[in-house]
Amino acid sequence: MMFSGILVKHHAALKNIAIAGLLVLLGLNVGENYGFALFDINTTNMLHFERFGLLFNSICIFSTLLFVMLSGKDVEKVGNYTAEYFALIFFILCGIGIVTSYVNLMMLFIGIEIISIPSYILTGSDKKNLKSNEASLKYFLMGAFSTGIMLMGIALLYGTSGTFLVERAAAQTPSISYLEAMGLLLLFISLSFKVSLAPFHFWTPDVYDGAPTVFTSFMATIVKVAGFAAFIRLFESRYGSMGSQTERLIAIVIVLTLAFGNLTAVFQQSVKRMLAYSSIAQAGFMLFALFSLNDAAKEGLILYAAAYCLATIGIFAVLVKMEDGTFEGFNGFGKSQPLLAGVLTIFLLSLAGIPLTAGFFAKYYMLASVVKTGNNLGLVIIAVLFAAVSAYYYFKVIQAMFFKDGDVSFPAVTSRFKYLMVAVAAVIVILGIFPNLLLQFMYF
């Protein structure tokens, strides 16, 4: 929310302070969700906080909290600027607060930029590593390019409506003009870029691969799902007037994304890169929310965001500590670290969408939302087939961990870390059985 930006300025300190700050934020957020706002600032048509955004925000903050708790130590290992890294993470969080609740396109633009610029920096933060440098530059160039496209879109939208307000712009033009359509399309494209939808996903694997693993974890999860919140908010009010061509376009993008993400992930040797591709595939699934844009879609997106963030952060928390990030690196992990291996298995199962994990209901809601729109059953079938493909590469990790022999060099971890991981796994399982525990926040 608003205050995150102000708060974090003073909290660019060490991990524990970060945790404290995040707890405070989370508390404020949840409180606000229940209607206890501490401050009330007149946002003058810039931001609007409602359930969906707040809940989304809470999830992001909670995930960040987990991220900091699980991987905080690893952040410190990246370089000499620990405090700065945390600050950047908080800046991003501030941006997320904005994009989950903007009503003005200007806020969208600024929010996206606040997310992007620190991301470029975090990507390049491992200055000794050429891969990191390269990833950073790639990310930056392509990101700036997509920003240009976004601005073009906003400009065109403004051209037709004379306002930057999302809602009013929609109200004024019942039948859509070419200019507006082009504007929306360009916006769609640039946001697709941000959440890495095919065919605008090309930056993702390289950047995620090149960035320091711990930041990949952050970017691939929290930053990405925030993009979807922005997506939803943008198209929520405009969708109805956009016509069947757009629906078809989104369908094509979904299929492409699923295909690119899943198929390319199959061949990867490095777990990190595999996760990068899988994050593309997951984005394809999340795009269903945009495709159908109904209650189920929103519920599903929330659940998806939670399930995906928790599981991916968990996996990355282990991956960060691994010396060998390839699949072979995991050989024999089940023997040396049975508990962690078990927990990782739950995470992977969740990503694959196996029942009894949150991932299942997430996917379920997504598919349900599509079915609810009518007869787009072909799309559902394609989606489930690709989900089967996704099981293929997620289970490769499980196979390596449990069924293959090998020596894993894995540093000793604190029992606190282990308990936390177990707790995360427990949350995933509980959400997998009772998704309502989370979704009830949407309605009360």
Binding site: F360, L377, V380, I381, N436
Partner: protein
């Protein structure tokens, strides 16, 4: 109350087992808890339907979705929970001597899969059913991949992906169904009353049926099965072929035919023809196998083919036969696996070309195996006869020629089963088989128990038949 117990007892004891590090303790505990489950299942099967909450359970689950925790124990459920409950103690006891590294995980996963199976047979809510459907699969995947044979990883992998893809298709079908119910729920009752367009019915039919067909497996979706059976540890193979393949059959009877009866009728010719092709095909292939496990696997495909054909014959008789046969086949095939396992454990081979003359060294084993083999052939006065008799009967009512062609398989089953008996037990004893000891007490008593079940239900099948009556009633109501 009983349904919940049937699921919770294995689930919780499975969790407990994970923490029992000592091999002996975890084994004993698993056996113990499975016996308790068996007691509950017998009590449940013996209870009358009228006793209120005893056999049913209902609680809120995901209200926004309309999904509920609804469990119920009807006749068909009774038969299959009973089978599941019998299968696990038998498996545990007969493989008591086998050693598994990390036995706590092994037995824990076994119990989890039992809980999943129970859930599948008890769920009266489609989403819940799907849940347990997967829950039963995952532990088995781990069991096979961890404790299986040499090629286990690749083989189980295929098995998993294959069935998982099927499940996901089913999920698509479930979703579609969900939005077609008037009250947006997964409850069996509202699904049974659903009215779909012709296209909708066909869509649901195929998405669900393919999932079930992969699980059963029906030709041509069966190729995962022989490899998986061959590579899995035998205890798991017993679960797979004894109980798990019944999930597919059960699901067709419970969730497919009643929900989309018109599509089922329209597609019955196709399904039956494929099933019959599968029966003959699997039987012919079985004749050429050189491995006990593979032979039993193909034999299992042939048997399942008959069930699949009979289910779609749209005849009450056949349906009852299918339910009975699910039970009988489960018992029989577990018996065969026990023997196969004993042989493999002692001699280290399953190849016919390396076996022979075991009857001289292990007469008791030979006799018990022959009885099981004869049950596999569905000789009268064994339990399988009743089921096959009813199934063929129904199939015959459906179409005389199809029944006739399908009947060829009862000739072929004799060919390959007796061939197996002959190759393994008869003839001159080969070098290398001398070291076989006759059957160990644990396995022996289990086999004797199974043989008794085979014969008792073969001679007096009426209790089983009575349990299956309501399966027919449901179908009859739909007509």
């Amino acid at each position: 109350m009983i349904p919940v117990l049937l699921i919770l007892v294995p689930l919780i004891s499975g969790l407990v087992t994970l923490f029992l590090r000592q091999e002996k303790v975890s084994k004993t505990w698993a056996l113990f808890s499975s016996v308790i489950t068996l007691a509950i299942a017998i009590f449940g099967a013996a209870s009358a339907n009228t006793s209120g909450n005893l056999l049913a359970f209902d609680a809120s689950w995901v209200p926004t979705l309309g999904a509920r925790f609804t469990f119920g124990l009807d006749g068909m459920g009774k038969v299959l929970t009973l089978l599941t409950a019998i299968a696990f103690p038998v498996i545990f006891a007969s493989t008591f001597k086998n050693r598994y590294s990390g036995s706590n995980a092994f037995y824990g996963l076994m119990l989890f899969s039992q809980a999943g199976l129970m859930g599948v047979f008890l769920a009266m809510d489609l989403l819940l059913f799907y849940f347990f459907w997967e829950l039963a699969l995952i532990p088995v995947y781990f069991l096979c991949s961890r404790w299986g044979g040499e090629r286990r990883i690749a083989v189980t992998w295929k098995f998993f992906i294959y069935t998982f893809a099927g499940s996901l298709l089913m999920l698509a079908g479930i979703l579609y169904l969900y939005y077609q119910t008037p009250d947006h729920s997964f409850a069996m009752r509202s699904l049974y009353n659903i009215e779909l367009t012709q296209r909708g019915e066909l869509f649901v039919f195929w998405t669900l049926f393919i999932a079930f067909a992969i699980k059963m497996p029906v030709f041509p979706f069966h190729t995962w099965q022989p490899d998986t059976y061959e590579q899995s540890p035998t205890a798991v193979t017993m679960v797979l072929s004894g109980v798990m393949v019944k999930m597919g059959v059960f699901a067709v009877l419970r969730w497919l035919i009643p929900i989309v009866p018109n599509a089922a009728v329209r597609m019955s010719d196709v399904v039956i023809i494929f099933s019959i092709i599968g029966m003959l095909y699997a039987s012919l292939i079985a004749i050429r196998q050189d491995d006990i496990k593979r032979l039993i696997a193909y034999s299992s495909i042939a048997h399942i083919g008959l069930m699949s054909a009979a289910m779609f014959a749209d005849e009450g008789v056949a349906t009852q036969g299918v339910v009975i046969q699910m039970f009988s086949h489960g018992i029989n095939v577990i018996g065969l696996w026990i023997v196969a396992d004993l042989i493999e454990q002692q001699l280290g081979t399953r190849k016919f070309s390396e076996l022979g003359g075991l009857a001289q060294k292990a007469p008791t084993l030979a006799i018990l195996f022959v009885v099981m083999a004869l049950a596999n052939v569905a000789l009268p006065l064994t339990n399988a006869f009743v089921g096959e008799f009813l199934m063929f009967n129904g199939l015959f009512r459906y179409n005389h020629w199809m029944a006739g062609i399908a009947g060829i398989s009862i000739i072929l089953v004799a060919v390959y089963t007796l061939w197996m008996v002959q190759k393994v037990f008869y003839g001159e004893a080969r070098t290398g088989v001398e070291m076989i000891a006759d059957v160990s007490p644990g396995a022996k008593y289990m086999l004797i128990t199974l043989v008794l079940v085979v014969i008792v239900f073969g001679v007096y099948p009426q209790p089983l038949i009575n349990l299956t009556n309501d399966a027919t009633k449901i179908l009859a109501q739909l007509k």
